[in-house]
């Protein structure tokens, strides 16, 4: 028993040293500063809601608000404002609201820009069924980990001849190894029992074959976590019939996009799904994945649950499990009670009332 613990600690430390994956930080005494990006549309109001709840929970977090609207840097390349970049590199942890991408602004999608600037290679979406928000699926408890930098979204496309277009899907050894290691680290740190690699190697033999090989290699170093492989279509089929069979799923970019949204649909949609992006150099940005909802912006009708659950994910990432549990329980209790719910959850309370209810519960817990 002790031998196993020693071995796993050594491999954990070795693994961490080799790949610089972030060890869970403990900030038991110090106050951690977090970069907050409110975003557009309903972004500011839900960010305010989250800040209020964190204050009520007495979480040791200090917020540093920054704006990330793209500016044209020297040399004509679009980049995020240097203050935002500096702040993120200093604090390493960020919380982001929804950002809008104007159609004819000339600059690429903001999310893409952030991803490139901080090399956010892993997108993590834990999907847990929420009691009180009824969907046909009641026993969902899985995590999708998606490779975020390459794959089908490499953006390399050519018009070969008139009427024939080729899109290139890029899979590299380095990126596949990185995401596989992150997946197993995550499984270990969060007491998950198995990791499933999702692929289509029967058709895309070389590309998904490479991805699978890397996953298998990394699995050798994590014997305490079970590793399985499953075809994408089988995963979709089984997910829709019985989602309780799945635990942690790791996959390349496109499959991850589709599957993570599928799982979000199982638990109730993007309005209640948290999401986190992990980057190199220990940077992590947690975000809400829904849109900016310009039609209800400023009217105090927004639902802060997605951003709140992402913030809870952030607390867990930083090692502040106590505060995370408190806030999460308060949020779920409010939703389960069904007395004060925002419109998209089926009630007709205002955002501020919903927030106040959660704050009250958090304070009552102390």
């Amino acid at each position: 028993m002790a031998g196993n613990a020693w071995r796993s600690t050594v491999s954990h430390v070795m693994g961490a040293i080799k790949t610089q994956s972030p060890l869970p930080r403990t900030f038991s005494r110090g106050i951690q500063t977090v970069t907050l990006i409110p975003g557009d549309g309903i972004g500011p109001e839900i960010s305010t809601a989250v800040m209020k709840i964190f204050e009520a929970a007495k979480a040791p977090i200090q917020w540093e608000e920054r704006n990330v609207t793209a500016i044209k840097g020297p040399g004509g390349r679009w980049m995020i404002p240097p203050e935002a970049k500096e702040s993120m590199n200093k604090n390493k942890i960020g919380l982001k609201g929804p950002l809008k991408t104007p159609i004819a602004a000339g600059h690429p999608s903001m999310n893409l820009l952030l991803r490139k600037t901080f090399d956010l290679y892993a997108n993590v979406r834990p999907c847990v069924s929420i009691e009180g928000f009824k969907t046909p699926y009641t026993d969902v408890d899985l995590v999708t980990i998606r490779e975020n930098t390459e794959g089908e979204y490499s953006g390399i496309e050519h018009l070969i001849v008139d009427g024939v277009v080729q899109s290139i899907k890029l899979i590299t050894e380095e990126a596949s190894r990185r995401i596989a290691e992150y997946a197993f680290e995550y499984a270990r740190n969060n007491q998950r029992t198995s990791v499933t690699a999702v692929h289509k190697a029967n058709i895309m033999r070389m590309s998904d074959g490479l991805f699978l090989r890397k996953c298998r290699e990394v699995a050798e170093n994590y014997k305490d976590v079970k590793f399985t492989e499953m075809y994408l279509d089988t995963v979709c089929l089984n997910m829709v019939q019985d989602p309780s069979h799945f635990d942690v799923l790791v996959m390349p970019n496109l499959y991850g996009d589709i599957l993570s949204d599928l799982c979000a649909g199982l638990i109730g949609g993007l309005g209640v799904t948290p999401s986190g992006n992990i980057g190199a150099n220990g940077v992590a940005i947690f975000e809400s994945v829904h849109g900016t909802a310009p039609d209800i912006a400023g009217k105090d009708l927004a639902n802060p649950t997605a951003l709140l659950l992402s913030a809870v994910m952030m607390l867990r990432h930083m090692g502040l499990h106590g505060h995370a549990k408190k806030i999460e329980t308060a949020c779920f209790d409010t939703i389960r009670d069904e007395k004060v719910l925002t419109k998209d959850l089926g009630g007709n309370a205002k955002c501020s009332e919903f927030t106040a209810d959660i704050c009250r519960r958090v304070q009552d817990m102390d």
């Binding site: 046909p136 953006g155 496309e157 277009v165 899907k169 829709v240 589709i258 993570s260 649909g265």
Partner: protein
């Protein structure tokens, strides 16, 4: 008949009569619009159909199909062609393709693809589809009355481009550790599949076609597909057309599936969406699929599973394969037999006692088939009357 004559003349008489052939060809082609299949392989009033058993549950289910057809006196003879998935030579699959070219119609089980084999060993099923140019995969997902599912009354037709897209099997390792896989989208194939979708929607009286894509990211590839769909849509003003991004589509499918009517999409998204829909109506054992080309048609289960873990245990659900054989009978214009067998299957479905394990029951495959045969015997015409 004219088409075959023209085809026969062309090589024999060479270029001198090329103009005549062109005129003949033009005369024949002017009635194009409806797909004209080559003459059926019908000898002595009995059709010949190629049967490819495949692996896993394929052989046992196809045996049940043969048994049922024999029992119901269906005038179909099967030419069985085995494809060994373990062998590296492509002779087996080429024989199967030749047999299908000969007969025009096939019923098949899934041939397993061992993905640890090197990349030059291509998926046999994929080879079959691309060689025969079976460009449209059609799957009709309908909730069956006797089966318990989370969503009720689903009725979605999914049309999936079957030959190109991500399944082009064109991959190379340009630098060690970097693999590129090509996804090819062509204007011709996109127009073809969109046209198929709209024609089918019109023939079946459907009101809306939804194109599923990811053109916000793959601007050229899926952008071309979407543009082709829009062009074809303009020729069918009675049918509504809209489009949806694939991740939103899967999210909507699990929460509000009733908003979808007919869906058309490229190859990979078709794989995902058809599996999600199959799961919604009760699983892979219930939904039949059909692959149509200009000259050939191949019928199989919609989700193409090998089912190795449940093979030879008499627990597989025969419904999908039997319904696929009914689709085949419809294609051969043997509608009476198709309706008789389909009716018997649906009546059996209502009997919860006879549900197989995958839909929550404890019945065996043979019990289900016996029940279907019993219903056919009691309800169908007696031999002396035909």
């Amino acid at each position: 008949m004219m088409a075959t004559l023209t085809k026969a003349f062309k090589p024999i008489l060479g270029r001198q009569l090329g103009n005549t052939a062109k005129v003949f060809g033009a005369a024949v082609n002017s009635q194009r619009g409806k797909p004209t299949y080559p003459p059926p392989a019908k000898y002595g009033g009995r059709h010949t159909v190629t049967l490819i058993p495949g692996d896993g549950i394929g052989p046992e289910l196809l045996n049940h199909v043969r048994e049922l057809f024999r029992f119901s006196c269906v005038p179909v003879d099967f030419e069985v062609v085995h494809v060994n998935s373990a062998s590296t030579s492509e002779d087996d699959i080429n024989n199967a393709i030749m047999a299908i070219r000969r007969n025009g119609v096939a019923l098949k089980g899934n041939v397993e693809t061992n993905h640890t084999m090197p990349p030059n060993h291509k998926s046999r099923n994929n080879l079959l589809r691309t060689s025969l140019d079976l460009y449209a995969n059609m799957m009709h997902c309908q909730s069956l009355p006797g089966v318990q599912t989370r969503h009720k009354n689903i009725d979605i037709i999914i049309i999936r481009e079957n030959t190109e897209g991500e399944y082009s099997s064109l991959e190379h390792e340009s630098v060690s550790g970097v693999v590129e896989s090509l996804k090819i989208i062509t204007r011709n194939n996109s127009l073809r599949i969109a046209d198929y979708a709209f024609r089918l929607a019109r023939d079946k009286g459907r009101r809306r076609v939804t194109a599923v894509h990811k053109a916000n990211i793959m601007k050229l590839g899926d952008g071309l597909f979407l543009q082709c769909c829009k062009e074809v849509a303009s020729g069918y003003p009675d049918i509504e057309f809209d489009s949806m991004i694939v991740d939103n589509t899967t999210m909507q499918l699990v929460s509000k599936p009733h908003q979808f009517d007919v869906m058309v999409m490229p190859n990979l998204y078709g794989n995902v969406v058809s599996n999600v829909c199959a799961g919604l109506v009760g699983g892979p054992g219930l939904v039949p699929g059909a692959n149509y080309g200009r000259d050939y048609a191949v019928f199989e289960t919609a989700t193409r599973n090998t089912g190795k873990s449940i093979s030879n245990r008499n627990i597989a659900n025969p419904t999908a394969m039997l319904l696929a054989s009914c689709l085949m009978l419809d294609h051969l214009k043997l509608h009476d037999y198709a309706n008789m067998i389909r009716g018997a299957i649906l009546t059996t479905m209502n009997e919860t006692r006879l549900h197989t394990v995958d839909i929550g029951g404890q019945g065996t495959t043979s019990e289900v088939v016996q029940s279907i045969m019993r219903i056919i015997q009691s309800g169908g015409p007696l031999t002396t009357e035909i």
